[in-house]
Symmetry: C2
Subunit: 201 residues, 2 copies
DNA sequence: GAGAATGTACACTACACAGTGTAGTTCTTA
DNA sequence: TAAGAACTACACTGTGTAGTGTACATTCTC
């Protein structure tokens, strides 16, 4: 069956989809509930029957996008595998997450708002920095194993992910640039690894 | 004389200052002309006597910030000076620009809006990429001189400036983080140069 | 110090939009 | 097929705000 969902579930989904789309292209302030309802093909009253307010709708969408883009598994340090290989794997995972369209939508919407909404910005900071800890843990383990000793354990993880974001995140989020093609992704990941190994080894 | 300006010039400046401040913290949509007038200590009518509309005021401010933050001189390649020294100088200039408070204001305001105003975003892209060409020219000259041959001439300049932005731009612009202290700036610039030389030499 | 330019206070229009209330329609389910 | 749940159309309130018009005050310039 193509539509196994009840009417109310379909309506709700249509509202969420429409809201993501509208918030994404117009931002929070410039998006009206009437527009969301129209785009969703739903009466305004139905929107309010599902979500008590515009703020609440926005918050739920942020939450939903966050969940769907954060299903990323942890990669522990493995002394048996060559550095280069492990780093490549680590960065490819990161790259995949950055280029995920849900994640980009989330980031666009969230950043546009958090630029002038300190509380939400703060929440994002803490959540994202928790995400960055994975690479930090990996590097610490490597250094405890006597590898990559020249790298600054505080700066290095950010330098790695920052290098990817330079090409595969910030231009897309802030300037609406298209996602990277596969060939460029490969170049960026490999250049980042090469550069890091040349520096830290 | 402390106030050599005519009343009308002082008023105009107060409006511009207030508008920058308000747009910076609240964004375009959430800032009202009444608020700007109040912050500037000026009647709303005076605001409209100086600027025909909110859009026009916004555009002029973008223009003004752009001009005041872009007074950066060009650094040509010099075969007589060591690579490391030239790179350090190049990146310090870049760092200075990134941390300039006018530039950060501009970026915050512009990015927050350009996220949902494609035309302005496009204008920013072209302007900024023209700015990035300086490093590209420098690298090409170095490579023509037989130096840094392993660096990808397309990716490398962006990797360099991207590395600085990771620490000294994006967190400040998108998450309202404080500017970098001098010690951290030094660490970032030097780590970037070291990493790049280790990779490209 | 007169006249022009500029600023101020304030009232006002027009509009967009968040959110509500209601009467009636359509869908689901038992 | 009947009853309840959910959806719809639509009218309506209240508020915030861009932008204007005007009569009067202040400042500049000659």
């Amino acid at each position: 069956m193509n539509l196994p969902l009840k009417l109310t579930d379909r309506k709700r989904q249509a509202i969420v989809d429409a809201a993501i789309e509208e918030f994404r292209v117009s931002g929070f302030e410039s998006t009206s509930m009437d527009k969301i309802a129209a785009t969703a093909g739903v009466s305004k009253r139905t929107v309010y029957n599902h979500f008590p307010s515009k703020d609440e709708l926005f918050a739920q969408i942020l939450h939903e996008l966050w969940n769907s883009s954060m299903a990323q598994e942890h990669q522990p340090y493995d002394p048996a595998v060559p550095m280069r290989e492990q780093l490549l794997s680590l960065l490819w995972k990161k790259m995949a997450m950055l280029q995920d369209s849900y994640f980009l939508d989330l980031a666009r919407v969230a950043i546009a708002e958090s630029i002038h909404s300190p509380e939400r910005a703060q929440e994002m900071v803490t959540r994202l920095s928790r995400k960055e800890e994975e690479a930090t843990a990996w590097l610490r383990a490597a250094q405890a194993d006597g590898k990559l000793l020249k790298a600054d354990p505080v700066l290095a993880p950010q330098m790695l992910s920052g290098q990817l974001k330079t090409f595969a995140f910030w231009p897309q989020v802030t300037l609406n640039q298209p996602p990277l093609d596969a060939a460029t992704q490969k170049k960026v990941v490999e250049a980042t690894v090469d550069m890091f190994l040349a520096y830290a080894n």
